[in-house]
């Protein structure tokens, strides 16, 4: 197994966000975590990357227990993890090429020539050829997301974490991003964890889908199993029915 979260609990002040979340992402698969906005999906992803520490429970990535890692070990683990941020989180003061090359500059044995070649390769992979010298402010939303993806894959990570990769994009660009996620899995063989509330996208990219509800994993199954499931909360989320999702009597 490659990513395993066991009984993860996390609160911010008095508000519990994760209440014993358990999940297993198998080696080489792409798993989508779905759930409404504010349900704690991004919080979950940040635990996997070691950006947040759980109040209780364990987060294992390969053999590493993420919350127990020291600074150096965490840096080593992060070289194996690519993180695609919801709003790309590109560095404003740098060009796209400099952004994509950022992670490579920290890798031992990478000189400027090798970095430039890899940056060009990654930009080609996400169809951003020739845009390397632009600044993030000069890119469209979809281009920014693709640049963020190029930056995440540049150090050839084993794991890719996607935080709402298609939020705010038009349907065509959403499909483009989804195809890229599939390419990352098929061509690069990375293990993917996608956080999204877009069911169309989840069906398209995921081998398995988990519904995060009330701080716990409510349902996990293949897209076909999700479509066939009778769980009311899952049905409510998939069909966008608040009565089913929250239970009758709630607006």
């Amino acid at each position: 197994m490659s990513i395993r979260l066991q009984e993860v609990r996390k609160s911010f002040g008095p508000k519990p966000v994760l209440k014993g979340f358990t999940l297993e992402v198998r080696d080489g698969e792409t798993l989508a975590i779905v759930g409404p906005s504010g349900s704690g999906k991004s919080v979950l992803l940040k635990h996997v990357a070691g950006l947040l520490r759980p109040d209780a429970g364990s987060v294992l990535v390969d053999t590493y227990s993420v919350p127990d890692l020291g600074r150096k070990e965490l840096i080593q683990l992060r070289r194996r993890i690519g993180y695609v941020f919801q709003f790309a989180a590109l560095f404003d003061s740098m060009t796209v090429a400099e952004n994509v090359g950022m992670g490579l500059r920290r890798m031992p044995g990478w000189d400027a020539q090798r970095i430039a070649a890899r940056v060009a390769e990654c930009l080609a992979l996400v169809d951003l050829n020739g845009l390397g010298d632009r600044y993030p402010a000069q890119l469209s939303g979809g281009q920014r997301k693709r640049a963020g993806l190029a930056r995440a894959i540049a150090p050839s990570p084993k794991f890719l974490l996607y935080d709402e990769p298609t939020t705010g994009l038009d349907p065509v660009t959403t499909t483009v991003i989804d195809r890229l996620i599939l390419r990352m899995s098929d061509e690069l063989g990375v293990t993917g964890l996608v956080v999204t509330h877009d069911m169309t996208s989840a069906y398209r990219v995921a081998d398995r889908i988990t519904l995060l509800h009330d701080g716990r994993a409510r349902f996990t199954g293949t897209p076909a199993e999700v479509r066939a499931a009778g769980d009311e909360v899952l049905r409510g989320f998939v069909e966008g029915d608040p009565d089913l999702y929250f239970g009758s009597g709630r607006d």
């Binding site: 990357a49 950006l51 992060r78 941020f85 989180a89 560095f91 404003d92 950022m102 150090p155």
Partner: protein
């Protein structure tokens, strides 16, 4: 009724607790940043650009303030020193005040607004747009990348800017004395030299060095603690400037008590 009476005590208690909490957080941030100094490969390429941004770019505003302070000091000294006090004391007053107090403190306060606000707004924006998280995921130590070069630039460049401001302030005072107060150059220089002690310059350097650390440190701390979008960035920027100004004035009194 009892609750109403207890309210001020509760407010004082809450204020004390939040102050201690901030102190603890600041201590943790800067002790971690001190450890991050070891990551020289991360911060050394960023030090020179930060020195230019913190120091060189602050020179015009620092000199502007110093020039007018020097002029006003000379005019007010001439106005105040009447009767038996010899006119060359104008030089003494301008020199001593610029070196010991106005040069370092005024420059420190002005740079708290310029540099502290800039750092806090920049890091605050990076925090709310997840750029700081992105740095971490790309295997960078954000303290080595963001905090260390800025604070070191402040410590190195503030004394240089302050010494320049002091020189220009004294020169402006000397020019004013010559042009408006009908003093001779020899008289002004005599006053300047008569009570001059080299230690005064070291005193100014030590003060400005600490002000540099405070201004950049407050900017980094408040910036990295930013929460909640554009409004949060505005709040942390204000907090950085106010905190830096308050600490500068406290430090000013502290150094005067300890070193003079």
């Amino acid at each position: 009724m009892a609750e109403l009476l207890l309210r001020p005590f509760a407010a004082i208690g809450n204020l004390t607790l939040s102050g201690l909490e901030s102190l603890g957080r600041a201590w943790r941030l800067f002790s971690s940043a001190a450890v991050s100094i070891r990551s020289t490969d991360v911060w050394t390429p960023l030090l020179l650009p930060q020195m230019a941004k913190v120091g060189v770019a602050s020179v015009p505003i620092a000199l502007f303030i110093a020039t007018f302070t020097g002029i006003v000091m000379a005019l007010q000294a001439s106005y105040s020193l009447t009767g038996a006090i010899p006119p060359y004391f104008v030089g003494t007053l301008v020199g001593k005040t610029m070196i010991l107090e106005l040069g370092p403190v005024l420059t420190g306060l002005v740079l708290a607004g310029r540099v502290g606000a800039n750092i806090s707004a920049e890091l605050g924006t990076m925090r709310v747009t997840e750029q700081v998280d992105a740095l971490e995921t790309l295997a960078y130590d954000p303290l080595a990348y963001l905090v260390v070069p800025r604070v070191l630039a402040g410590i190195l460049m503030f004394p240089a800017v302050v010494l320049l401001a002091i020189s220009i302030g004294i020169a402006a005072g000397w020019f004013t004395a010559l042009q408006l107060l009908e003093m001779s150059s020899a008289e002004f220089v005599k006053g300047l030299r008569i009570y001059f002690a080299p230690w005064d310059v070291w005193f100014a350097v030590i003060k400005s060095l600490s002000f540099g650390a405070v201004v950049t440190g407050a900017g980094c701390y408040c910036g990295l603690r930013t929460e909640g979008g554009a409004e949060g960035v505005g709040r942390s920027t204000t907090r950085a400037v106010v905190t830096a100004c308050m600490i500068i004035l406290c430090l000013d009194a502290f150094w005067a008590a300890v070193l003079l």
